[in-house]
């Protein structure tokens, strides 16, 4: 037995923290004692193995930077905040529990979250000073002016009252790029100020005069921050009114034109049933899989935490089997298991075929007896054996009870001797229960 002091000395030597005198002593001890030499060599060998670092996935940095691009820049703390943090012992980031509570935006008419965002943005991007306000409403001077290459602030004339219809018609006549250029010259506050002067009906009429392409182009020209602000500023009833005026094809077009992250963000604002409908109606299989694959773990967690069990189930139900399998392929193990729980048996079998063996076994563990029986039958002999060996007595018994006699005999022989009596007893119990259930069912007395 090596003395504690010597042990520490050897460990410090391996860790490179000894001074010359201590190192010399360790070397002497290694020469004198085979036991110390063995310990020293063992520790060195382990250090050698553990010093190997893992190859970094090439996707790591790009994924982080993509997510960072969408996040606001963290603000420097003021001196006062720093002092306050010291006094209050602000928890470090690793102690902070991230909370992603769902926002309670439950708009019954907002069939597509996507459309909401596009519409809200379009308000602020395209809308025009209200023709109904005698004092301050604006209009476009001459259509031709906006066809000139340079648009100046003078092109926007503050005028007296004008009819909404006329304004809408004139607005509709100018090109999309002119509209966008015009909007670009106004800041968010100006756009909002003009918008505020208009009633819902007028806004809707003007909005309806823009094409889906124009709306999308406008959306692309505004920063994410402005989009969020704009979205938050539009009352629910107005959103609803605008959505009603959009044709379904326009909605789909607008949705498909959005980047994945924005799609996800907008979908977050919908109710469970709406999410399910949007997911099914607007996203292709590839888009669904991409959406899952492109999200960071934080985004996935945030999205999952915002969905109720009901929403998740609805979304899962709306997917076809191949879609589930494809999405499952790209998810981390934990997400797979969570999704696995919600899938029907046939979908599980299809998905299972695409998984590596180790993941297959983990999935199998989570199935109820009847599902396990079906899946078990679709596995290779090697997979079955591995899985069977991992099962508890109850699980083994239930599985044996649900298998044909030939397979049962084979698997039964693989049960360890000390477990056989218990497994046999439980299997008989399971069979008897299953038989009486079937009998009751047949008699219609159940």
């Amino acid at each position: 037995m090596i003395d504690q002091t010597i042990r520490d000395l050897v460990q410090s030597e391996v860790d490179g923290v000894n001074g010359p005198a201590e190192s010399a002593r360790v070397q002497a001890l290694v020469r004198e004692s085979a036991e110390v030499a063995g310990l020293y060599n063992d520790l060195k060998a382990i250090a050698g193995v553990l010093h190997q670092s893992a190859a970094v996935p090439p996707t790591l940095k790009p994924a982080v930077m993509r997510a960072v691009e969408r996040m606001p820049v963290p603000r420097r703390l003021t001196l006062l905040q720093r002092v306050f943090n010291i006094i209050a012992h602000t928890p470090s980031p690793v102690e902070v529990v991230m909370s992603n509570r769902p926002k309670s935006v439950r708009n019954r008419v907002a069939i597509t979250g996507v459309a909401l965002g596009v519409i809200a943005l379009a308000y602020f991007t395209f809308f025009y000073p209200s023709p109904f306000d005698d004092e301050a409403a604006g209009t476009i001077g001459s259509v031709k002016k906006y066809r000139s290459e340079q648009i100046s602030a003078n092109d926007v004339q503050i005028a007296g009252a004008d009819a909404t219809e006329a304004a809408a018609q004139r607005f509709a006549r100018i090109s999309a790029s002119d509209k966008a250029a015009l909007a670009d010259r106004m800041n968010l506050e100006e756009r909002k100020a003009m918008l505020d002067r208009m009633g819902v009906a007028q806004r809707a009429a003007l909005y309806a005069s823009t094409s889906a392409t124009e709306r999308i182009a406008a959306w692309d020209r505004v920063s994410m921050t402005d989009r969020t602000k704009a979205l938050a500023a539009v009352p629910v009833n107005e959103k609803a009114s605008m959505v009603d005026r959009l044709a379904m094809t326009d909605r789909v077009k607008a949705f498909n034109a959005l980047p994945v992250a924005e799609k996800a963000q907008l979908v977050d604002r919908l109710a469970a049933a709406e999410k399910a409908e949007v997911f099914q109606a607007y996203a292709s299989t590839e888009a669904k899989a991409t959406l899952a694959a492109n999200s960071s773990v934080t985004e996935r967690a945030a999205a999952a935490s915002k969905m109720t069990a009901e929403a998740k189930a609805l979304v899962a139900e709306k997917m076809v089997c191949t879609e589930r399998a494809k999405a499952l392929d790209r998810m981390p193990a934990e997400a797979k298991i969570s999704m696995w729980d919600r899938m029907p048996a046939e979908a599980k079998i299809s998905a299972l075929d695409r998984l590596p063996r180790t993941e297959k076994l983990a999935m199998l563990d989570r199935l109820p007896a009847e599902g396990r029986g079906i899946l078990f039958a679709s596995m290779s002999v090697e997979e079955r054996m591995s899985s069977f060996a991992k099962m508890s007595v109850d699980q083994k018994a239930e599985l044996l009870g649900s298998l044909p006699l030939e397979e049962r005999a084979f698997l039964g022989s693989k049960v360890p001797v000390e477990m056989r009596t218990a497994v046999d007893g439980k299997t008989a119990e399971f069979e008897s229960r299953t038989a009486s259930d079937a009998e009751r069912s047949a008699r219609g007395t159940d």
């Binding site: 490179g16 996935p57 982080v64 997510a67 691009e69 963290p74 603000r75 470090s92 193990a333 934990e334």
Partner: protein
């Protein structure tokens, strides 16, 4: 930008320069990923955790105290995120067991994976101290600071971890690989 110190990069990031943060990501991604991978044993999960580490760091960068070392801070986040992931996994009914076949052998005989499997058999406390020690040869005091335990405990835990790991490796027939 690659020649700038960590604190300078942090300040630039706080000033709105996202590329500065990109340099920090690049500088520590190998270590952060290795911590996560060594702790979790699954590359896909490790990548997710590494992403989460950087996003959390970015989000909370204004709380980073530049009197301390950036890498200690990011390693601490990486360690805690990994532990959280392990706990989440445990709540999902023991994926660890699922990663291992019943007869105790993985289908791939790849040495790094077998070593990783051995590490995964250590408890989280032993795993943490071992992983942090070998990520960047951190001194005991630094590891102690990251884990919030005394340096003396780090030393004794490190010894136990290595001893247990050695036993596990022998059991897995890895003695010859040394």
């Amino acid at each position: 930008m690659i020649h700038l110190g960590d604190n300078e990069l942090v300040q630039r990031t706080l000033g709105g320069d996202r590329n500065a943060f990109g340099t920090l990501v690049e500088r520590y991604q190998a270590q952060v990923f290795t911590i996560a991978w060594r702790m979790l044993g699954v590359r896909e999960e490790a990548e997710d955790v590494a992403q989460a580490v950087y996003l959390k760091a970015y989000e909370k960068l204004n709380t980073f105290d530049t009197r301390y070392r950036f890498f200690s801070w990011i390693y601490r986040i990486a360690h805690n995120e990994s532990v959280n992931a392990i706990e989440r996994r445990s709540r999902m009914q023991g994926l660890d067991e699922g990663l291992e076949s019943a007869d105790g052998h993985l289908e791939s005989p790849d040495l790094p994976e077998i070593i990783q499997k051995c590490i995964s058999q250590l408890d989280v406390n032993h795993r943490s101290v071992l992983v942090l020690k070998y990520v960047q040869d951190l001194p005991y005091e630094e590891i102690a600071g990251i884990l919030g335990i005394p340096a003396k405990t780090v030393k004794s835990r490190l010894f136990s971890a290595r001893t247990i790991l050695r036993q596990i490796m022998s059991r897995e027939g890895l003695a010859d690989h040394d």
